[in-house]
């Protein structure tokens, strides 16, 4: 068959089609007009027009988090690309596989300070897994193939492809490569069998074993293998903020989330264990606090991760295992079965008793006299009403922590939030990505009145694409987490953390063509949520403005730089 001669724009679109892309989130502009013209003439994928490029990248990112597929965003040169940077950095910090296509000024104009020109490859370099500037039409298909390959393999991450406008107008043969090989990029997949046996030996001889799993388990589709292994070992386990849902929260061995706002039992067990199995997690500052304090209790640490650079970065590892977490965990199970007969589970009974005492402290209890809406209660009711089976996206701040603490996730890829970069404004575009991927599922965006305003323009996109998201706004008229730190560490000086001149969110939602609700009484929480999730409003976006307790804080809390066992509990104050 004779290869087709088509334009660079068509090659770009055909390449995306070859990758079975379902949605492209984007915003047109001068440098991508040829590409948009090619999109106009095709029907294979759907283009989702956002209202700001940041939201395009967030939505593509959430699509990927919810489905495990590569998300795609398309932006124009200059401001289109710079607006996308927050979205790209957010995806980068959480290792989310997305491909961003950005338009660039024509090759002859590069470096001339042309209209809407910026050094996109230079600007994005520190926050992408890799990026490319395509200077030859014959490289477009090959580069897009590489971009998808790099984004989705190894430790995943965003890859940007910058395409100058003149290249998209030229014509060339279209040949999409079936496979790609790169001599400089060969991620290790299989874990070292000797190391795995060593790890199992440590685990079955541990008196105080502990499992700590992170976002790598979710991204690596390893939840099932992890769950089987941990249940069989009957070990206690905690998940990081990014790892929630990686192990079912309803299981008796689950100690809740760990970290700065983790549960008392999870943090204490992390601190006091003698053998720690870390799976797809990276010991970051919000998770283990101060590393010196963490190591005060001597422990042997086994670390499974796809990224060699994550091993021994903050904490020295005794048994490193580099590989695909799912494959490694499957090998773990095999290795364990061989020695299972030697394992006496009674060895860890005293450890479980110790953990039980920590659980009994009931660190997530909060006082509620019904006079004002407690944000925690809203999340608990949301969990009830959605039967624990919704996609929950969040923005960043107190509401994010409450959602993580009070909405137990039993499945991976249901909890969608910005853990690494902590980007306020992701919640609504994240909900868009989830709802488009799963049009029949319940999608709740848990947010605050500060965060939601950072990407509120997307209410318009939600209308255009009929996305029946339920926006749960915990409105305390403060940037709650900032206020909490100011209360604890800055002598109650609430510098600029008060949200003055808030809009009437009900009217705002209505003006975008959505349903707005304002809920001011604790007794109305449940009925309002039931109504929002009722068949009557199944097709509608409902913006729920919950007026919550202004003074509520997130507990437990580990002050910055302190150790895991140095938590402040609600009753301490």
């Amino acid at each position: 068959m004779k290869p087709e001669i088509i334009t660079g724009a068509e090659i770009t679109i055909r390449s995306l089609q070859e990758e079975n892309v379902e949605f492209v989130f984007g915003y047109p502009g001068g440098a991508v007009l040829n590409i948009y013209d090619a999109i106009f003439k095709q029907t294979k994928f759907k283009h989702v027009l956002v209202r700001h490029e940041q939201a395009a990248v967030h939505a593509a990112d959430a699509f990927s988090r919810a489905t495990g597929k590569v998300g795609v965003a398309l932006v124009t040169s200059g401001p289109g690309a710079t607006n996308a940077v927050t979205g790209i950095a957010t995806a980068y910090m959480d290792s989310i596989p997305i491909v961003i296509i950005s338009g660039q000024v024509p090759t002859h104009a590069i470096g001339q300070d042309a209209f809407q020109e910026c050094d996109t490859v230079g600007i994005t370099r520190p926050c992408v897994k890799h990026n490319f500037l395509v200077k030859d039409i014959n490289n477009i298909a090959n580069t897009i193939k590489k971009a998808f390959f790099i984004a989705s393999t190894g430790r995943p991450g965003p890859v940007l492809v910058d395409i100058p406008k003149d290249i998209t107008a030229e014509t060339a043969e279209f040949n999409y490569p079936k496979t790609i090989e790169m001599r400089s990029y060969n991620p290790v997949i299989k874990g070292h069998s000797g190391q795995i046996r060593k790890a199992i030996d440590l685990l079955i001889n541990a008196k105080k074993p502990m499992v700590y799993s992170g976002g790598g388990v979710v991204l690596g589709n390893a939840s099932e293998s992890l769950t089987k292994l941990v249940k069989r070992l009957d070990f206690p386990i905690t998940n990081t903020l990014m790892g929630l849902g990686g192990f079912p929260a309803s299981d008796k061995n689950f100690l809740g989330m760990l970290g700065m706002h983790g549960t008392y039992q999870a943090n204490m067990a992390m601190q006091e264990c003698d053998v720690l199995l870390a799976v797809g997690a990276r010991f970051d500052d919000r998770v283990i606090g101060n590393p010196e304090h963490f190591l005060k209790n001597p422990k042997k640490i086994i670390h499974i991760d796809i990224d060699p650079a994550s091993i021994s970065k903050r904490v020295q590892i005794d048994v490193p295992i580099v590989g695909d977490v799912n494959l490694v965990l499957i090998d773990f199970m095999k290795a364990y079965k061989e020695v299972e007969k030697n394992y006496d589970k009674k060895l860890i009974a005293p450890w479980k008793d110790e953990i039980k005492k920590w659980i009994d402290i009931d660190c997530l209890a909060y006082k509620d006299d019904g006079s004002v809406i407690k944000p925690q209660l809203v999340i608990q009711k949301l969990h009830e009403v959605t039967k624990g089976d919704a996609f929950v996206t969040s923005d960043v701040g107190q509401h994010q922590m409450w959602a993580a603490q009070y909405y137990p996730f039993n499945k991976p890829r249901r909890w969608i939030n910005s853990g690494g970069l902590g980007t306020m404004g992701v919640g609504l575009p994240y909900a868009m990505g989830c709802q488009l991927a799963f049009p029949d599922s319940q999608v709740a965006c848990v947010t605050g009145e500060a965060s939601i305003q950072m990407c509120i323009q997307e209410l318009s996109t939600c209308k255009q694409f009929n996305l029946p998201i339920k926006v749960i706004t915990l409105n305390n008229r403060y940037m709650g987490m900032v206020r909490q730190w100011q209360e604890f560490f800055y002598g109650n000086r609430y510098a600029e953390s008060y949200m003055d001149a808030l809009p009437d969110f009900v009217k705002l939602a209505e003006s975008y063509g959505h349903v707005g609700m304002k809920i001011e009484k604790s007794s109305d929480i449940e009925s309002a949520l039931k109504e929002a999730f009722s068949p009557k409003l199944k097709e509608r976006l409902v913006f729920m403005d919950f007026i919550t307790d202004q003074t509520e804080n997130v507990f437990p809390m580990i002050p910055n730089g302190k150790g895991l066992s140095e938590m402040i509990l609600a009753e301490d104050l």
Binding site: R125, P126, L133, M182, R183, P308, A309
Partner: protein, 163 residues
């Protein structure tokens, strides 16, 4: 401790900035960095002189390996190696000092590559520490200008960096 790290990377535009960007973003030291194409024109070889604790050096090597364009990384300090740096120095060489400068340069194996009326230009290669020693032997006031390539290194015997 000072380490010489050699690496091979795809000879593509922007490759150098990926490496230098990594060092600045993660707060690693760079004492020197040299880069040139190899006999295989698709590959560049870069030599980075850096310093840090073993833990930091381990991270540097891992982070370099993680860059998509980097094909192979070798920490030369992991084994026996040869180090060389080239320096060109311009010094004041008036009558009474000309002999002394020549004598010092000979001692260090330097070569005078230009004799002007009042200056000498000397070329010297050796491990970086030897070049430092040479500069120390000269009268500080006599040194007009120096230019150094930064260190290059290669493994001894069968320690090789090749794909």
């Amino acid at each position: 401790m000072r380490h010489i790290i050699s690496l091979l990377m795809e000879n593509e535009s922007g490759a150098l900035s990926r490496v230098s960007g990594l060092f600045s973003a993660r707060g690693y030291n760079i004492e020197s960095l040299t880069v040139a194409p190899t006999e295989d024109e698709t590959l560049s070889r870069m030599t980075i002189v850096t310093s840090g604790s073993n833990k930091v050096i381990e991270q540097i090597v891992k982070q370099l390996n993680k860059l998509i364009d980097v094909v192979k990384v070798l920490d030369l300090n992991d084994g026996r190696h040869i180090e060389r740096e080239l320096m060109i120095v311009k010094v004041k060489a008036t009558n009474k000092y000309r002999d002394e400068i020549k004598r010092i340069s000979d001692t260090f194996g330097g070569r005078i590559i230009e004799m002007a009326e009042t200056t000498f230009t000397i070329e010297l290669t050796g491990p970086s520490s030897e070049l430092d020693a040479y500069l120390h032997s000269l009268d500080k006031a006599a040194i007009i200008e120096t230019v150094r390539t930064g260190a290059l290194g290669i493994g001894r015997g069968d320690r090789i960096l090749k794909i």
